[in-house]
């Protein structure tokens, strides 16, 4: 299936006069349609280097714009606005304002790696999407996405105990994102489980929530990982020219 990429002509740049006469010629309506010119002067020349400095973005410079990533993309199939090729193009040219038009959907990459599989240049577009989403958050262009909240809660649990417990991660996610845990479809899921599950299974699930599973003697690993996370966060901020508080 060919990619139906977005039109380069935006509705707000299309000008049409309902009543217009030029040199005695009536050009009212679509006879007067023209596209307003666009000039871009606010190139961000540091953008590609900044995104390349974040984990996953390293190979962005290799892209030659073949479009295999967008063609293979899972999310593009449900939302044609989701266009990795186009974003890589904008980042490489430094067209920050253009990129920001799509800032609220870039985090939606599902990491299926179809793009990475298809890419002939080893750009790892999946990594570039994650680095770009990360960049948008660090720069303050977007709040933390639901995905970032989930990743942080999940990673926090792994670093703390060496393992995760799913119910705890789920409830923690709802808490972090301010969602109610009693959504109708979830309620139906839980009642379905409770009705059919053998008692032993439910007891074990409940046991896991109360006494969280953990890796024994994890203390030294936890300290090493926490130290490393701080080091990486400082590196990422420094690469973007931000201070410790995330200010530029």
């Amino acid at each position: 299936m060919p990619i139906h990429e977005k039109s380069l002509i935006r509705p707000e740049n299309l000008v049409e006069h309902e009543h217009l006469v030029i040199d005695g010629v009536d050009v009212s309506g679509h006879w007067s349609t023209f596209i307003e010119g666009r000039s871009i002067t606010d190139y961000n020349e540091a953008m590609q280097d900044e995104i390349a400095a974040l984990p996953g973005g390293e190979n962005i410079h290799r892209c030659w714009q073949c479009g295999s990533c967008t063609n293979a993309c899972t999310v593009n199939a449900v939302n044609p606005e989701f266009n990795p090729r186009y974003w890589i193009y904008l980042i490489r040219l430094g067209m920050e304002q253009e990129l920001l038009r799509d800032k609220d959907i870039i985090w939606q990459c599902v990491s299926c790696n179809k793009c990475t599989y298809a890419c002939p240049r080893d750009v790892v577009p999946e990594g570039v999407m994650k680095a770009t989403a990360h960049w948008l958050e660090l720069k303050g262009h977007t709040p933390k996405s639901p995905s970032t909240h989930f990743d942080e809660g999940f990673a926090g649990s792994v670093i703390k105990t060496g393992k995760i417990e799913e119910t705890r991660v789920l409830l923690g996610f709802f808490r972090r994102t301010g969602q109610p845990a009693n959504q109708p479809w979830l309620a139906r899921l839980v009642t379905g489980l409770v009705r059919r599950m053998p008692l032993g299974y439910l007891t074990r699930l409940g046991w896991g929530v109360v006494f969280r599973p953990r890796t024994r003697n994890w203390g030294a690993a936890r300290r090493a990982l926490n130290e490393y996370v701080h080091e990486v966060e400082a590196q990422n901020r420094a690469a973007l020219g931000l201070d410790g508080q995330g200010r530029q």
Binding site: P55, G56, T74, V75, V78, N79, Q108, V110, S111, C112, N113, K114, T116, Y117, V124, K130, H134, P146, S147, T148, H149, F150, D151, E152, F154, A155, V158, I159, G162, K163, I164, E165, E166, T167, L170, F173, T177, P184, W185, L189, G192, L193, R196, M197, P198, L205, G208, P213, T215, R216, N217, W218, A220, A221, A224, L225, E227, Y228, V229, V232
Partner: protein, 308 residues
Amino acid sequence: MDGNDLKKVAYYPGCALEGTGHAYNRSTKAVGKALGLDLVELKNWNCCGAMEVKNIDPKIQTYLSARNLSIAEDMGFDTVMAPCNGCYHNLKKAEYDLAHDAASVEVNARLSEKAGHQTYESGGVETIHALDWIKRAVGEDELAARVKNNLKGLKIANYYGCMYTRPRHIFPEKDKGPGSESTAKPHFMDDLLAAAGAENVDFPLKTACCGGAHSLSDSDTSTRLVLNILETAEACGAEVIATECPTCHTGLEMHQVRAEEVLGRKTNVKILYFTQLLGMALGLSQKKVGVQENLSDPRDLLRQKGLG
């Protein structure tokens, strides 16, 4: 490596198999037992980082997986079997990164030393999936000979998901011609279920994505992706979708319910782990392979087919 070496392997179940994927854990062990294969669980393993930790920093995930591989090495194993696609993928990715990326090697060495255990070096342990394990340790012929309860008449769509085949470079043993697994059209699960008598339907979405990474953080996208998989399987004539990953399995079951609740689109296809299907073919009861834990409730269908 010949099949005999795989009669006894290190087993890395991972966090999901201790929670929502319990039926996969239970049926994998039961199938192993029925086929005379030994699984020795890794001692004091940790989470592989799933699809989340890499977004904090990929090298943390490399370390987490390397620690598990070092445990397998300590226990004297050269093969570790992971039935979860996420765990399998991450162990493979760590193996690749430690063989090709000096920065990953350095961070892993530093973290391992601080954590007080041996540093894993690439080449020490081979990671295999539950599909490789049964295929290589037993094979289709021996499996077919052991089948007590043929899956004849059961129409199955085999669903492999993303992490089992992508990205290609971390699976150097795949795409190596006849006998090897294909990353474009995987067939190991098809082969095993066909040996057990099932009828595999021609299913084009074997490696489509269920949106598992955003199952909760972007539920609407996941529901649409899952619904597409479910409806396509039904259109292909499948009664059952066979899975080999707890995240895919839970995602399919959860969003099957959500698609009905939120979009009003009901599908009836049943979702079963391939090990549950193999287990019943080997004569194990429904209970033994944990079918009562499947949300899509395949019990009636299985009874109709004379299984379990």
